[in-house]
Symmetry: C2
Subunit: 207 residues, 2 copies
DNA sequence: CCGCATCCCCAAAGATACTG
DNA sequence: CAGTATCTTTGGGGATGCGG
């Protein structure tokens, strides 16, 4: 654990817990679900094995992650977010919404597997209208229904969107439908896009 | 600038920009308004002068902060957030809301001056009901109206809350009014408390 | 193989002194 | 006041080793 900022401040305290290098990216991965040590190592290119071990130990010590060993058939152990750890999703979402605006168009070769599920969860899920959505982007598939994000497809979708990562980028930022194929209820999808690109409202809604 | 995570991912990119030690705390301070180098240094106990200079240079380079020299009478220069930098408020708010739950009751001697304004902006301002609120906590004063936070008092308040930092803590987390003095429209204040302690809704509102 | 612990090296942080 | 220069200390990156 690195040195504390030693301030009585919720932000400084939060950064004491998750502000070190790699920590929030580990949490980002674990938002996909429980994962083994080696899976994490594979999905975080560049992280040293010692760093990963140290971060997991810290995260466990402060109640963000739990280590479980799976029952006998599979003798491996997995890391899993606690409920408190899972709530870091709001932090990661805020970071994603802020960061995406200076990120520029995608370079497909730098996209990690599973990126689409994150993208849907971060940008489309919050405030999504009721409906069943399937995204097929550059070989990845993810779905959204009831504000829940799933890796993989979904039965009886209301809308299916198929395009490339680049197509999705320009759709999102400029509403350009070049190279984007929408199957099903296009108007419903437009409403989804409206909520996704609306300015973020943090906090509760005014009464 | 430290090493990039080198992933095409909005979160990783955001952390490339503001993920280094001290960076988000500098932004937190600048949310109070433009500030001189020495002010920042004073308000961030423990930061080295070289680190502060380096961070400010990085933040300037990536369009989060701008350096201005004030017009002749005052020959000093100030650092100021750009609009893009100001939007990091949503990230800091998410961190604050997450972090406060594991922070514990306040230790008054570790509170930095200006903390109350941040606290009001982060916890009370989002979604606040219409009204004029004044907070007087442990010698600090801050106000809230139209969702705008101000350092200092306000004319014609609807409600004035006076207590200690500890009193505010237990009021917030346990609705305990011990040692809390409410002047004015108490019911309005209760509504403010309701919105402040409601679970955070990130993203736009469901249609 | 999986899950780390150890070691080495370098880059970044911390502390302090000093300067335009 | 607003930093730069310098030195020491700490932490990260990468390779390797090793028990289960």
């Amino acid at each position: 654990m690195s040195k504390s900022y030693d301030q009585y401040c919720p932000m400084a305290h939060a950064l004491d817990l998750v502000g070190e290098r790699w920590t929030l990216l580990i949490v980002r991965e674990l938002l996909h679900g429980p994962m083994r040590y080696t899976d994490l190592s594979d999905r975080l290119p560049g992280i040293g094995t010692n760093i990963l071990a140290a971060r997991l130990k810290d995260l466990e010590a402060c109640g963000i992650v739990e280590k479980h060993r799976l029952p006998p058939p599979a003798a491996s152990q997995v890391y899993e977010l606690t409920p408190y750890g899972h709530e870091l999703k709001s932090v990661l979402r805020a970071l994603a919404v802020w960061g995406v605006r200076s990120l520029g168009p995608p370079e497909p070769e730098r996209l990690a597997t599973g990126w689409l599920e994150s993208a849907v969860a971060m940008f489309f899920a919050p405030g999504a209208p009721v409906g069943r959505f399937v995204f097929r982007i550059d070989g990845e598939v993810a779905s959204l229904t009831n504000g829940e994000t799933l890796a993989g497809p979904l039965d009886d979708p209301d809308v299916t969107v198929e395009t490339t990562a680049t197509g999705l980028y320009y759709l999102f930022f400029e509403r350009r439908y070049d190279g984007v194929e929408i199957d099903g209820d296009r108007e419903l999808f437009e409403r989804l896009l409206d909520t996704a690109t609306a300015p973020v409202v943090s906090g509760a809604v005014a009464v």
